[in-house]
Subunit: 465 residues, 2 copies
């Protein structure tokens, strides 16, 4: 007879941690750092503070040339966390503050917790977390009860906050392989500095070397605002939850209160289209009516598209500045596409192209990918941007000789829901609307590059005579 | 102030269902069918019964040319499920019988449940499950409480089992897009028939067309046996759990009782290497000693490699027969590699190559991928087999002219843990040991193909004179 077992979600991601990006000591070290840095950047941006993020990796045991025990310390000046949430935020999987319709780097509620979990299963030592929202400073020593998906608080202290410090400090140990992880870790910091030029990033590596990325500006991007669900993104479960939680006594106010950009006029038109009276009490809808209403929401063409105020794009200026700072190219073109959406989720694609200068000469087009200001450094061949750049663009048509011309393409996508294919946040699915925007964005900047290359080659021919 | 939320794992996979393969009505229909068929095949194989699996898709509402409501019914003659487990097996995410070290198609405890969940959020109707292990027949009508990750039993009945029927029948509705899903659904059944030639597979589509894949044999593969964890796959958490659950009073019996292929001699040698007395009570080990012991387990080179009795490979004969039946090629070569392992998980790679006959002419090498006898039909360019076949083999060296020669490569991997990159089970990570086996397997069969092609071309040249 078969034995049945139920496991916690922490146990699931422990057993399948490679799916979350924690496959081996090299990759786990990279993932731990990136997950924690992304948490710190989110915390600073949501608060509105120009980020000061300090990361230090120290060798604790073993040698630098094999997988060994390292300590990671990361400190930020972000929002901090209220004490009642600290143990759960990082000690429980699927607990977080990013389950909202607003652009943030975090989205799943498990990245930082996975870093702590991986550290624990490789070193069996607790994590130390200090955090303050400006009041008292709380200090926790925790481990995770993986089988129950609950934090185990080993120690909890509070002390007065003399100078109003606000932020979070995390210290934990893990088995890592720094020499192998280092190129990707440094590249991650370098590329983060391109898309977050308002951040001071300091990194101290196990050899004591200091890497410092100074902020180029204190101007912070407009923070993303939370929006309500859009009708095009609704399914039966979402609608059922809205109806069961609502205080609205009629369908008209349900539509205008709980949905994004649905005003009274649009709500009335929609309810007429769906065949539901505006005065109907939402809680009297039958299950079949809920299903029909969901279907009507998807097919009603008059709803306004999602409003991009929940997004925080780089903007052409910042993207251009970042590319110039990083690649010092002979030529740059950038294009921020107009907002679009898929399944009710607004998104904006921003594309750049660079030629020459210090664009790496790799024998093919160099692709830089970003999502919600996160650099994506793995699995590029599985990414929609790779598919566009390598399979859908005829570069000869744009005068680019692949292998000879040093060209880099930079793609940034921001959305309330980045269509990642995996929990490890490394590559993006080829959703038709997203692919369409990337393709047209790359074509636009490629067209500008081709004009530059034509002129450049005319000049070169002239010079040879 | 930030609002924190904790969500259930069902809610997590509901919000991120594309990560589990349920991205849109076309893909969801494919995923629902394949997850349920894989459950049925596992149930038949674990029981030892030549599978009779019947799948019917019926249009319930809407039209055949747009996403519409379909009913899926699937019936098998497998092991059936005991009544106390039925609601949880398919009504709770992360509940199942496959959390063991033994080759099965299922592995995560969520595939079948996701199919039911997707059906529910698109149609709001319950699933009907009949199942019997040979005793009474139990019938359930369920829905899933997604926010709590618990089944909601709407109806439960039991009746006498007149003729000792054993198996499971599942009926549910979902929003799907059959016309678009059909090519992949049919291909899935066709390829399943290749690697499970002992199965009768019947499929009735919404137009009432019957597709039947008759069994070619009743000889069932040797069922995979469960094995104990291998020392090379152990981390601190696994060891901690073994120690806290053990009834063993000393380290020697702990090693020989709880680990795969560790006899007394090996255990003594290992404990000496690790500096732990064989008489030591496991429960007296300190946290640091547990960490050190885990590290010693990984570095001790005398442990026997994992035993492949937990695996159920196709074998060269069956692989060849399947390729011949499906592709009627001019030439076939197959190779079953010797068992290998990664991180303590045993695996076997079996490779085939076919030339001519009805190998599809696609302008490049056709790749068929299988994992634990499951056909993988999506995301091939992200798969380790693709990387090997397209980036690591110099086909001209084997006399293969890509684009002119109709060549197919078939790769089957079986393991206690297939290194899938996603929960959707569509492509496999390039774990070094696995990549090594696939590369060498492909080279071996490519070598045989090149001998055939050389002779063939000599003959063709002779004939032209
Ligand atoms: N440095 C920090 N400052 C403030 N809050 C933090 C910090 N790190 C984590 N948190 C809080 O802990 C929560 C959980 O973090 P975790 O990384 O596990 O998930 P997430 O960021 O919500 O999602 P993701 O899995 O996509 O990273 C966050 O949502 C945030 O509220
Ligand atoms: N047709 C069936 N016959 C017998 N048992 C079944 C059947 N379908 C499902 N089960 C049981 O229900 C459990 C849960 O199925 P589910 O598909 O959700 O997860 P799984 O098969 O264990 O893993 P995976 O997510 O990889 O498919 C299975 O482990 C199995 O015990
Ligand atoms: Mg996070
Ligand atoms: Mg399953």
């Amino acid at each position: 007879a078969e034995e049945f077992l139920e496991i916690s979600v922490a146990d699931f991601f422990y057993r399948n941690r490679e799916i979350a990006g924690f496959s081996n000591p090299t990759r786990a070290m990279y993932s731990a750092i990136r997950e924690l840095v992304e948490n710190s950047l989110d915390a600073c941006e949501l608060y509105g503070a120009p980020p000061d993020i300090y990361t230090r990796v120290t060798l604790v045991e073993g040698a630098l040339d094999t997988p060994s025990i390292y300590e990671i310390k990361i400190a930020d000046n972000g929002s901090g966390m209220p004490p009642q949430h600290i143990p759960y935020a990082l000690g429980q999987v699927l607990y977080g503050s990013k389950y909202k319709l607003r652009q943030t780097r975090g989205t799943f509620g498990l990245g930082g917790t996975m870093a702590i979990l991986y550290g624990q299963i490789t070193t069996n030592r607790p994590v130390r977390i200090l955090s303050s929202t400006g009041d008292d400073i709380w200090e926790y020593e925790l481990m995770i009860d993986i089988q129950r998906n609950k934090p185990i608080v080993l120690d909890e202290r509070v002390r007065k906050n003399g100078d109003g410090w606000r932020g979070t400090v995390i210290e934990f140990t893990l088995e890592g392989d720094y020499p192998r992880a280092m190129p990707k870790v440094l590249e991650y910091f370098r590329q983060t500095a391109i898309v977050a030029p308002y951040a001071n990033i300091t990194f101290v590596d196990p050899r004591g070397r200091l890497f410092r990325f100074e902020r180029a500006t204190t101007a912070m991007p407009q923070p993303a605002r939370e929006i309500l669900p859009h009708p095009y993104g609704v399914d039966v479960e979402t609608l059922r939850r809205i109806i069961s939680a609502t205080k609205c006594r009629d369908m008209l106010s349900l539509m205008t209160t709980h949905f994004h950009r649905v005003g009274e006029k649009t709500a009335r038109k929609f309810l007429e289209y769906a065949g539901i009276s505006p005065d109907r009490d939402p809680k009297t809808l039958s299950q079949d009516e809920i299903v029909a209403l969901t279907s009507s929401m998807k097919s009603f063409e008059v709803f306004l598209p999602p409003d991009p105020s929940c997004l925080s794009p780089l903007g052409e200026e910042l993207l251009r500045a970042g590319i110039e700072k990083e690649l010092s190219p002979e030529f740059v073109a950038v294009k921020a596409r107009r907002p679009s959406s898929y399944s009710g989720h607004p998104f904006i694609v921003e594309v750049g192209i660079a030629y020459g200068g210090s664009v790496p000469k790799t024998g093919s087009i160099v692709l830089y990918r970003f999502a919600n200001r996160i650099p994506l450094l793995y699995d590029e061949t599985s990414d929609v941007s790779w598919k566009v750049v390598y399979n859908m663009i005829n570069w000869r048509h744009y005068k680019v000789r692949i292998g000879e011309d040093p060209v880099a393409v930079i793609v940034h996508i921001c959305s309330t829901k980045i269509p990642y294919k995996t929990v490890g946040k490394e590559f993006i699915a080829d959703i038709p609307e997203v692919e369409h925007e990337i393709l047209n964005g790359v074509r636009e900047v490629a067209r500008k590059l081709s004009m530059f290359l034509s002129r450049k080659r005319v000049i070169e021919r002239e010079q040879r005579r």
